[in-house]
């Protein structure tokens, strides 16, 4: 009996470890960020050690303790992304998913298809968080448009559920089948998926990569919004502009080690470093509302918090509630274009901004595939606009999304698609 108990205890410990792997924060919580994350990989080619990247004054002015994540900061990329925010994108203003910033057009005539009814294949990394779910619905509706017009015949999809190996085999299956007329890939991770994307290119099928990038430029086009530095900077600049010098800012982050989230934070550190704001610290929350509320409450017990910077909107309402429940004044806060946050923002009238990681990018790969079949030029790197929602256009976006669920993203860009609004409501 005792032996069996020891065995049981041992087995329990193993199971606990397993369950920790399968359900504990580090893996799963990664998703929100992950998904939101993509861009930087495009720049992997020009990654330089940051010492060479020319540390500016802002860096030196900053608190050195806050700069320990320098591995994630490439000044050239940071400056390029910040500059891209001010570039007027080419393309129709009312269809941001067709716009491109500073495009370098590439010829696609070699892929031109004579007939309609093309088979479109899509290897998806996962639909494991609200941002991806929203985008995935939009993409399916966009495909429907082109199925009705006869451009797309069959739409084949594989979902790798955040598993790199699964996605590599998914892509291989598409290549082996040999009947994809275009292959869209939303990679799960950068380095691991690069050979698979390369293999897909080598098979001769036009490859379209979007959201997160890969370390190759063999694809016809790589589609992504401006990126993480721009996102983090939008949020940080708003706090700097709206808080008095000396005010205290708390940063809430989802988890470490995800490139785009790190870039958001690196950009924020850069801007806070050059400002008079006092950064109290940063906390990893896994995007879990209960943890966020607990952490913020504890900071409030120790002193004033005047501003909240978040690397993604998940759980921002919980952060705001922590101020309500402890009887503190609302902070100046940077959330995201997630509707739960935007509704809370409207309700309470707090000073806030919603940085956007453009969800409408899920439409663009389908548009790109059709353009490629038509032999039209597409940008080799298709940088989509990424504009934060401010108080000025907040109500307009809320009106447009009035009946949408709270974990929906305001800039999903699917209002003109068939099935609107029902398919986004009944997910």
């Amino acid at each position: 009996m005792r032996k069996s108990r020891v065995l049981l205890a041992g087995a329990a410990a193993v199971a606990l470890a397993l369950s920790a792997c399968s359900t504990d924060d580090p893996d799963d919580a990664a998703d929100p960020g992950d998904d939101v994350a993509a861009e930087a990989d495009a720049d992997a080619g020009d990654d330089e050690p940051d010492d060479d990247a020319g540390d500016g004054d802002a860096d030196d002015a900053g608190d050195d303790d806050q700069r320990e994540d320098d591995d994630w900061f490439v000044r050239a990329d940071y400056e390029r992304q910040l500059a891209q925010r001010d570039i007027e994108p080419e393309g129709p203003a009312d269809q941001p998913w067709l716009q491109a910033i500073d495009p370098d057009w590439t010829d696609t005539s070699e892929f031109a298809a004579e007939t309609g009814d093309n088979t479109l294949c899509f290897s998806n990394a996962s639909v494991s968080n609200p941002w991806r779910v929203t985008g995935w619905i939009t993409m399916q509706q966009q495909v429907e448009v082109y199925q009705d017009s006869g451009d797309i015949g069959e739409f084949r999809v594989s979902d790798a559920a955040d598993d790199d190996n699964q996605q590599i085999s998914d892509i291989q299956t598409f290549i082996d089948a040999g009947d994809c007329d275009a292959l869209i890939i939303s990679p799960s991770t950068t380095a691991t998926l690069t050979p698979a994307v390369q293999a897909a290119c080598d098979s001769g099928v036009p490859v379209i990569v979007f959201d997160r990038g890969v370390n190759t430029d063999c694809m016809v086009t790589f589609i992504h919004p401006i990126g993480g530095y721009a996102y983090g900077a939008d949020a940080a600049e708003f706090l700097v502009d709206n808080l008095e010098p000396g005010a205290s800012v708390l940063a809430l982050r989802i988890l470490p080690g995800v490139d785009v989230l790190e870039h958001r934070w690196a950009a924020a550190q850069e801007i806070f470093g050059a400002s008079e704001l006092n950064v109290l610290g940063f906390e990893f929350t896994g995007g879990d509302g209960a943890q966020i509320k607990d952490q913020v409450t504890q900071y409030l017990q120790r002193g004033n918090v005047d501003g909240i910077w978040m690397d993604a909107g998940d759980g921002s309402v919980a952060a705001i509630e922590a101020f309500e429940d402890t009887g503190n004044d609302y902070p100046v806060i940077a959330g995201e274009d997630e509707l739960s946050f935007m509704r809370k923002w409207q309700e309470t009238g707090l000073t806030a901004v919603a940085p956007v990681y453009s969800n409408f990018q899920w439409r663009t790969p389908v548009e790109a595939a059709v353009k490629i079949w038509n032999g039209e030029e597409v940008p080799s790197e298709w940088v989509l606009p990424q504009e934060p929602i401010t108080e000025a256009d907040r109500d307009e976006f809320l009106d447009r999304n009035a009946d949408m669920p709270s974990l929906h993203y305001a800039k999903f860009g699917g209002e003109d698609l068939p099935g609107f609004p029902d398919v986004w409501q009944d997910r």
């Binding site: 009996m1 005792r2 069996s4 108990r5 020891v6 049981l8 205890a9 087995a11 329990a12 410990a13 199971a15 606990l16 470890a17 397993l18 369950s19 920790a20 399968s22 359900t23 504990d24 924060d25 580090p26 799963d28 919580a29 998703d31 929100p32 639909v127 494991s128 968080n129 609200p130 991806r132 779910v133 929203t134 988890l255 470490p256 610290g281 906390e283 990893f284 896994g286 995007g287 879990d288 509302g289 209960a290 966020i292 509320k293 952490q295 409450t297 504890q298 017990q301 998940d314 759980g315 919980a318 509630e321 429940d325 402890t326 009887g327 739960s340 669920p405 709270s406 974990l407 997910r427």
Partner: protein, 348 residues
Amino acid sequence: MTNVTLTRRGDQARTAAGRLFGGGSGTVFALLLLICVVISFVNVTFFEPPSLMAFAKTVAPLVLLAIGQYFVIVSGELDLSVGSLVGAQVVIAARLIDGEESRTIPVLLLMIAFGALVGLINGLITTLLKVQSLITTLGMMLVLFGAVRLWTGGAPTGALSEAFRQPGRGGIDLPVVRQLPWALVILVVFVVAAIALMRSSYGKTLIATGDNERAAAYSGARVWQVRTTAFVLSSVMATFAAVLIGGFAGVTAQVGQGLEFSAITAVVLGGVVLGGGRGTVIGAMGGALTLQALFTLFNQLALPSTIRPAAQGVIIIAAVAYAARERSRPVASTEPALSRDSESRSTT
């Protein structure tokens, strides 16, 4: 029956002898006190009444989960499904209530029924189909996790009503403490109920079952019933924890993740032996308080919250190892012969 009673008396004698260092519930409260002292050096404002009330709000769900997990562990089983169940319940509540105040009560009742059903399934599969609870509840964890993803298409929809959020978020406004949280009131009720339950004949049978299943069966206990009830209690407690967590922080896609791990850590930290038969429900509650206090201390020391899983892992290994060391000691001569007898028999 005599065997069982005497074994229990032996347990009592042992816990009395080594209350502080014996790895029982005494140790965990000593540890809690120590952590509180350290916190008071780091940040004395933590002990201001409003801060303590905020702490009570955060710790309440974990204590409920620890109580539920205690019932299962002390009966000799393990419940890994509670974290997923909490997540599933919050998502179900948000989806079904969808912001309508009038649906609060019906949905609450439905949640309790669903929780009881999950516990019943866990219990019956474990006891009647003889599937190890480790596998049963691991399976249930994955089933619930996957089913919720499937049902919601990957992301929760809907919204909780204000009334639903009151137990976890609201309270009675009072001077001094600012607000007496409902969560604390609910917590006290469950703590008293759990202690009463463990003093009842059911509680005694539960411990006897975990200590020596065969002896309990010979003395007339329906082991499968006792254990199945423990699983149901665990799932129902998880449901109430879900109400508090959902109320506290609202719906996020990550809600509930890793809670089974926290609950088990709290229980073993409270001196409850994995494998069953030893440990008190008060110890399990103390374990939950201590674990949460430890996380608070980590926070006060500005340690990153990513340290939590690692800390939990160390605690669980250390606590199990400590308990194993305790049991491998020679049995004290003051104990009744019969108890020693059964002990040595079970070793072989």
